[in-house]
């Protein structure tokens, strides 16, 4: 992929990111932060990629550590967000 393509994708993603959350109400700040946090746990994919290519013990150790950390980030993030939102259950429709 060319650098220009990557740059274009980056710029467009910035706009999407800006726009998509621009209407959030105060009540949802925390769940949104926590959900976004879970999404960057997708670094797990990167961690798996480097772990699958790792050769030396050092590389493997660091990569596996990255897999553990990224999994905690991703899985924990989605679970905790869901728990938070559960609290709004049955109230959500009202605002």
């Amino acid at each position: 992929m060319t650098t220009m393509a990557i740059l274009t994708i980056f710029v467009l993603s910035v706009f999407v990111g800006f726009e998509v959350v621009s209407k959030v109400s105060t009540t949802l700040h925390t769940p949104l932060m926590s959900g976004a946090n879970a999404i960057h746990g997708i670094i797990l994919v990167g961690a798996i990629l480097v772990a699958a290519e790792a050769k030396s013990t050092l590389e493997t150790t660091l990569a596996i550590l990255a897999v553990v950390l990224a999994t905690i980030n991703m899985v924990g993030g989605f679970v905790v967000t869901d728990r938070m939102l559960e609290m709004f259950k049955g109230k959500g429709g009202k605002k």
Binding site: V50, E53, A70
Partner: protein, 460 residues
Amino acid sequence: MNSNLYALIGLGVAVSFVMALKGLSAPKTARRGNLIGAFGATVATVIVFFDPSIEEGHNTILIIAAIAFGVIVGVPAARKIQMTQMPQLVALFNGVGGGAAALVAIVEYLNLGETASFGEVLATVFTVLVGSVSFSGSVITFLKLQELMTTRPVVFPGGRFVIAATLAGALGTSGWVISSGGTTPLLVLAGLSLLFGVLFVLPVGGADVPIVISLLNAFTGLTVAASGYVLQSTLLIVAGTLVGASGTILTRKMAEAMGRSLFGTLFGAFTAKPQAIAEGGEARTVKSGSPDDVAILLNYAQRVVIVPGFGLAVAQAQHTVRELADLLAEKGVEVAYGIHPVAGRMPGHMNVLLAEANVPYEQLVEMEEINPTFPQTDVVLVVGANDVVNPAAKTTPGCPIYGMPILDVAGAGNVIFLKRSMRPGFAGIENDLLYDVKTTLLFGDAKDSLTKVVNALKAL
């Protein structure tokens, strides 16, 4: 797997993240949004094992074990945590994400060795620097929120020079990595960045910590995007950038809700004049009352506003407060809850708690709407709140909450505080309102006190 199909699925996952963020920004769709995101992430995790560029089977068992271990650590933590401790958990999750990004960058750097292009080295340096800052910064915010260390800004003499020097060192080392390459400078960079993360968060006042978490969250997003560039993964680029951009907007919005500028939040402790509060200078008197006194005040009121705060969450008093409100309503007293946007320890904290207790939505009134009604209010019942009603936010320039909009409870006829002691709130500053002639204090755990007031009211 066919590489086109693989890329297409990656694009689908990216779309699921956009939909997740979009869903999360409206109450009706928030939960579904989160589930869509989780689904997308799961798909991505499964298909990456079929990535056409990796050697099949290499380290697979180890990786799956690592994932299982991560799940075993992460899920129970997320499940068991109390609502009051949610923010520090989010901070921790964010930190490990930043750490993971930094590690991924380091490993890929080792792997690429001499073949790394200029752009790749640049992205690696960025990821290591920012990921490490995010990691150590998040740990400090965790410690602050968990009250394992002081929640007040930590400033030491010459602090700003030390910070500036650390940052300069980190940037210098970045230059070193870029110009000469090699593992040593990269590890020095990681070390300096970790230190910078600590120094960067220390001076932030506890009340501003959620803003910092949100900012570090956005940072971590950007490191994920940079890793995506190095690993040539469009999915990581898009997902990371999405989080970076939406996190930035969210950070600004949160700062606004607390009435602060982002700049002031981060660097306020350096520019603020040292506080000149004459602590204990004169022994001021407070009026403390019994549950019966409080019950009588409430019983003869026309209109009562309840202001819940962090103490309500600690005491888990949401159900008792609801009982009291229902009792008052039965007696013909008009009852409303005044909700400050940053009451508690996370935005929307009070809404969550009161929703859990089935408080009718109509009774929850936001700050802007309730403030004009205080002059027509007979009694304000402040349950475990402090900073959000502290007039110092208006009167004392330089104090950690200066500039934050507050609930103007001083305008009401009587103010009752339910708290356990004279200790200050999160921001660590005195509240003059406690000494006001209008104010009655009922000491004790919020739940106990409320139960006593309810009983006294029933006896009246």
